[in-house]
Symmetry: C2
Subunit: 507 residues, 2 copies
């Protein structure tokens, strides 16, 4: 039991929570900030692990790995932390397999897959329609998007059924849905899909590894470093690992501000959150993704003129939806791939060996028999990761954004919401995590120390409707109570933190 007193408690030591803590620390060194994290590590949905490789061992990202030059928030952070990036290798032939297990495997060089004239026409008209709709999306207030209710009442699947003509394109859009969101097109609101694409600057930005797109660069040494460096700056003594917040209670006579950067429905709130916020929290399912890295002695695919990029539709018997070259900056050859959505659900019920064999068989089929001679196969099923429950992002089912989205970023009493799901730029990405964490930090500063904000920042907060009113200047009296740490006989550690706060008024 600690009797410490804190000004801000950040729930979740992922990129968003730590970005919030970091900005708060930078702006007001006197603020007493505590970051609570359920896992025994920082980084949330980013984790970098060492595995056997050609020259011994090397490090790969088993969670979020890519950044892009238009992702300004993460790019600034990378610069600030003095980390290095390198481009995703994408030169050479790409492989496309859709249309059933026995259909022809196609090979192409352009960024747009080798499509028949009809499918290409279909792709072009659909992309045009979707991008036109993307441009109408008002991310800040989705209800101002023309026809928002109708767009939010259908699944991505329904839109594609109505607007794509060819089965092949429909199957490829399934691959897009799985590789970007970890869910099937049937599980997502079409408006959510549009918002996500709009927040990235368009649909192609989500899918491509070309300049400005989501898969442009990787970070030398891995993305988990971002969180580790941030934790260093915040001060490791202020970051408590193995400390899962299970309840947040707001009481009178406290001004403590929690920043919740953990998109979980498992936290109990007292008093209960407003219905709108609670329904939203309970209705943002996370995707299901398994990521694998296979290391090799030589990058045989490059030698054969392949880029390492494979796209495989769900009608094939291939477990993964997409792979890329993952050769490390040190030159250790590797491929990275994803088993995702319904395929993750199906394949996660099988034995690890069976799954690995199926992945390798597919790699052999698409890239040649050399794929069988791998050094090491390592996979991570994010659904099994405690306090994540899935990857890469929490999505929204139909009928949520238009009814509940106004509460997505709106503080509840003194609780502020971070997490990439609440981002307005590159929502769902690492960059969105940083942006949302910084935005939440500014909201907190507006409450506890508004002189730390620039005039522009204050203006932006008001415009973003993320502050509740004029900044309060009551003396800071804070109390964190009931924080207990228990280690139990079975290998599980839980911490229940009750944050007791002041003068709750839901607005």
């Amino acid at each position: 039991m600690t009797a410490d007193i804190w000004d801000v408690v950040v729930v979740g030591a992922g990129l968003s929570g730590l970005s919030a803590a970091h900005l708060l620390r930078k702006r007001d060194a006197k603020l007493r900030i505590l970051v609570l994290e359920g896992k025994d590590r920082v980084g949330g949905r980013t984790v970098s692990l060492e595995i056997p490789a050609a020259d011994g061992v090397d490090r790969w990202d088993f969670g979020g790995q890519w950044v892009g030059s238009t992702q300004t928030h993460i790019m600034e952070l990378i610069k600030d932390l003095d980390l290095e990036i390198y481009p995703q290798f994408n030169a050479g032939k790409k492989v496309l397999h859709v249309g059933g297990p026995t259909s022809k495997v196609r090979v192409y060089q352009t960024s747009i897959p080798a499509l028949s004239p009809l499918v290409f026409l279909d792709f072009t008209q659909l992309l045009w329609k979707v991008d036109r709709l993307c441009k109408t999306v008002c991310i800040q207030d989705l209800l101002r998007t023309p026809n928002a209710a109708e767009l939010d009442s259908m699944t991505l699947h329904s839109y594609v059924e109505q607007n794509a003509w060819t089965g092949e394109l429909k199957e490829q859009l399934g691959v897009c849905s799985r590789s970007v969101f970890g869910v099937e097109p049937s599980q997502m609101s079409f408006l959510f899909f549009l918002m996500y694409a709009a927040a990235a600057g368009g649909l192609m930005a989500l899918l491509e590894s070309t300049p400005g797109c989501a898969q442009e660069f990787k970070i030398k040494g891995g993305t988990q470093q971002l969180s580790e460096c941030l934790a260093q700056r915040v001060g490791w003594k202020n970051v408590r690992l193995g400390s899962a917040v299970t309840a947040i209670w707001q009481v009178e006579y406290s001004n403590l501000c929690p920043v919740v950067a953990y998109p979980s429905a498992k936290i109990q709130y007292q008093p209960a959150l407003p219905s709108m916020r609670e329904f939203l929290t309970q209705n943002m399912p996370v995707g299901h993704m398994m990521k694998f890295i296979v290391t090799y002695q030589t990058a045989f695919w490059k030698e054969k003129g392949f880029s390492g990029e494979i796209v495989a539709g769900s009608s094939t018997d291939c477990p993964f939806c997409v792979t890329f070259d993952a050769t490390s900056p040190r030159g250790n050859p590797a491929l990275v791939g994803f088993i995702s959505g319904q395929q993750a659900t199906l394949w996660s019920t099988k034995e690890a060996g069976e799954r690995r064999n199926a992945v390798l068989s597919s790699l052999e089929r698409y890239l040649g028999p050399e794929a069988a001679s791998f050094i090491h196969y390592e996979e991570k099923d994010w659904a099994q990761e405690e306090y994540s429950g899935g990857c890469p992002v929490n999505v929204m089912a139909p009928g949520l954004l238009t009814y509940y989205q106004p509460s997505l970023r709106k503080p509840c009493g003194r609780i502020h919401w971070a997490g990439t799901e609440t981002a307005m730029q590159w929502c769902g990405y690492m960059s969105g995590a940083v942006q949302s964490g910084q935005r939440a930090a500014l909201e907190v500063l507006a409450e506890v120390c508004h002189v730390a904000l620039t005039a522009e920042e204050q203006e932006a907060l008001v415009q973003g409707q993320t502050v509740k009113g004029p900044p309060q200047q009551t003396p800071l009296s804070r109390l964190l109570n009931g924080l207990t740490r228990k280690s139990v006989a079975i290998p599980v550690l839980t911490i229940s933190a009750a944050l007791l706060l002041a003068q709750v008024k839901w607005q």
Copy 2:
């Protein structure tokens, strides 16, 4: 801290959990059964409260209230508990208001609303189509429903948009969705809707108060009695109120069986549930419903020839979607109504007085100025009810049933699943709660005491694929550990129960 040892721990003292406990107790009096309930009362989403009425005070149901003659499980329980039922009053004129706030309010006598010939034709063709689809639904294994993936990939809204021709019918289907599920047609998988209707015997059975339908009878004295009587039979000393289960840990060397009759995503499981089950648990949002009772000195609506039934579409400015006569068995006049779905979300943000005035204005408009002279207005917002979070039922968004439904009733290790969401008959209703609780109890008996099952019951369990294999006959050694009860300074009581079980094998 208790060191008691139990054979079965039931999570949730609603109708389902208590039905499970009751059947277990009846079949094997030696079983040590503990029922844990977070609320300070039994009954779950049923609660009966006294409010001022014409002759003083009287009791009304503020949660589930109706039963029907085809709901065999609840009807048998009512008989077994020696409770009395009485029919829902439905004689006289009904009111229908759709098509915008200024449109004509229509009055009709039949069970099918006063529709124009075109809308009637539209209604007939849609009902025919939906009922034909209902008949193809395989409730036991939804994947065997023809075209299951496609039906599950669209929302009810998308189906209606594609298959109904008239705006008026579409609006009425919105009322159906809100009044039956507490959600909008956009928030629900069309396959889920079909399954729900099929489990009730057809779409009209959900909507009607005629014989065999969902709104046929009420229970004298209220529905909460069902749970109270069951708790009595199970033994109140075995029912612990104010005891919310926050975690279920399964460990070696214990044979304790938990029966989870609480459809919440807030329980932490150790080891983690299989991905399929966890995704399902995290993806069954509950509806949002506010129920109100208005008591009167006289049943003025009956005197004027009205039944008390009003249907109001969301295009009107009426907050409620539907009302019925709620005159008590003792003759105290009352009306009952529901504010539901998006309307509940909107109206719950307003002051109670404003909401009450809007309800009464609408009643005045539809039934006459006498509606203004009420004795008492009482409402219950189920979204504010702790450990329920909403009402009447947890629904499924698109893309869940076909991917995850196989795990809906499948035990996880020794954990068995009850709750009306898991029912195969009258899913979502009180009858489904009883049926699912009894089914879970039979599953437990098959494990711990299979001689207590009849041959038919064993056969049914195997057919229902709800048992994992041949019943185990290992000696019963059980352990419930770490059950702590804490009362804290602020008016909140939480209990964390860690259930430690044996030889976990997810199958």
